[in-house]
Symmetry: C2
Subunit: 365 residues, 2 copies
């Protein structure tokens, strides 16, 4: 399979094709950057949702201070693409990775994330041996009960990390991920404020103890409008907001951003009057967090997905759908959809204007 020529009309792209609508994408990027500026908060959007150096360059041009990465391997890709200020929001453990981190710190300025002395000591030793220091933040558990130290345990750890010669402790991070789906929006705001308030209180304790806490990082897409408004935080990580999806809009109730990521599909089977089969299944998109939506067709529902078959349920008004008809889907959850693809097809005025590889896809280590 060859790549399609630039200029190809959307309707002629082979399917399934994961598409970015460039004007809607740029509007989202600008809106996210503006919202952060308005609140005086820096934007360090997570790159795990796109894995694309092309997207990275555009968010940095729009004012992002750098990127958040989920893995060291992602940070390596973005450093090679020229982004220096990279927060690795996960733990770097083991001799192979520590060697890679030392190499990365020679060409970029990463920030590592820690919640345990056992992660920190080998890194500090390796950095000292290489004549380097690496910036570090402590992860605080804000109630998600995944990783991180409780707010009350941060100060003792901070003191020990600050004493390690290969590290430069610069702040803290937390993630309010357990609050994204609080349905009542006033309750959601209150609970996020309470959780992030613990993060900011931790910062105050660190500052009072004479420790550096110039970075207070938090804020995913599903809590973005609440996180930016929190006094005392310094940066937000919301990344998926550049694409938007059904999960963020309908389950997290995030407004003000457009559906910029879509999946072109073709109807390949019509086995029953109320059922159609499309050429996209669970190896092409994600259905667990929210079913994909059919753009402009509320009378067509994505009912279930096999590996490479998608079953659509058709209302009576949609039963004239034929083999060969094309549909545009809005991903249920963009983040778990993008990583199944090798590239984004970038569209403007319904024509292909660029192809952006997901260069960091599969960089799991």
């Amino acid at each position: 399979m060859n790549y399609p020529l630039l200029g190809t009309p959307k309707d002629s792209l082979d399917t399934p094709a994961l598409c970015i609508d460039l004007p809607r994408f740029e509007a989202n990027v600008d809106a996210a950057a503006a919202l952060c500026r308005q609140h005086g908060v820096a934007w360090r959007p997570h790159a795990k949702c796109h894995k694309s150096p092309d997207v990275a360059r555009r968010v940095v041009e729009a004012g992002a201070i750098g990127l958040t990465c989920a893995k060291l391997g992602e940070a390596e890709v973005f450093a090679a693409a020229g982004v220096s200020d990279l927060l690795i929001a996960n733990y770097v453990v083991g001799p192979a990775k520590i060697s890679r981190l030392v190499a990365l710190a020679q060409k970029a300025d990463p920030i590592i994330c820690l919640d345990h002395l056992d992660q920190a000591e080998p890194i500090s030793q390796a950095m000292v041996a290489a004549g380097q220091r690496v910036r570090a933040v402590i992860e605080i558990d804000l109630g998600m009960e995944r990783a991180g130290v409780p707010p009350t345990a941060a100060l003792p750890l901070a003191r020990r990390l600050a004493a390690l010669p290969g590290l430069r402790l610069v702040g803290i991070m937390g993630y309010e991920g357990h609050l994204l789906l609080v349905e009542d929006q006033r309750e959601k705001a209150a609970r996020i404020a309470e959780a992030l308030g613990q993060l900011v209180a931790t910062k105050e304790r660190m500052l009072a103890a004479g420790l550096d806490c110039s970075i207070v990082s938090c804020g995913g897409t599903g809590s973005f409008p609440f996180a930016v408004a929190q006094p005392g935080i310094t940066e937000v990580q919301a990344g998926g907001v550049i694409f938007m999806d059904a999960f963020y809009r309908h389950r997290c109730h995030i407004a003000g951003f457009e559906y910029a990521l879509t999946l072109l599909t073709t109807v390949v089977g019509r086995p029953a009057p109320d059922r159609a089969i499309i050429d996209a299944g669970r190896k092409t998109m994600n259905i667990e967090l929210h079913a994909p939506l059919v753009r402009h067709r509320p009378d067509i529902v994505v009912d279930r997905l096999s590996a490479e078959h998608g079953c659509l349920k058709l209302a009576p008004t949609a039963q004239d759908l034929k083999v060969g008809d094309r549909l545009e889907l809005i991903p249920g959850y963009g983040d778990f959809t993008t990583v199944l693809h090798n590239c984004f097809y970038v569209l403007q005025h319904d024509r292909l204007v660029d192809i952006w590889p997901l260069a960091a896809r599969g960089k799991l280590a």
Copy 2:
């Protein structure tokens, strides 16, 4: 990140790493081929579970007659790797794909799958225009209510397909996928026999009508032992059996095959006495169909997965687990795990002996 050198010990591979244990893999391949031979049934294993030309060559060397593919793009990769007899168990629709199918038919001998005249006619026309014919099978719905025609509707469609000059109708296929999880094994056997009996009855009607039905294809990994025993079928598609996984063993109760696919991970966080964090989440493995298992450690349970964090629940006997410790996981569902990776690390006697790229990964069109 560079690839590790061949000869690297398993314990030194950077993680997460998706590994194939070569002796266990070869034992599974041999056992699957032998089971088919014993029943006088051909083996056409599905390639969607591995996407790897290296795996493809090994199953063909072990006696597979060819491969089943989920997408035209996969078939193109395997044709380029030298496999000719390729069943595309999905529908090929749209001008771009039909052009590609014509090209594929010039260098391989694919079989397409059809359940509607609207799929068939454009393909027949294109094949005639190119001076070619392509083999075709009709998909029969055995009760899964996904794609395919009901058994009773097969004959009229078969007659019309047989009249299309660009096609050569050679048989039928069906998938008993709705019966994989029938818990009682005697009931499972009976229901699969009943479903596949409808497939074989369809063949009898086609033969009686003077139509070719030399291929009767069915049989996924979750029903493999029952499918091979069905009189009248000619080939089975079971592919995941070469790897085995927790879903097939514990939910489908498939015995006689070893866990050949594992995922090496590292403990990167110890936030609570009974909780550990590993460097693998939902972008590295799949948890929906069955949780991954921790090899040789029944006292450690994969509790939940975020995108790139895995949360383990530790029994009291496992609470000495430290940051940096390594664990080997058995995928919950191999098929949705493999496609998240760029390559398999092939191990023998716990040393790296080969690296097999998933060359057909992301070939979704």
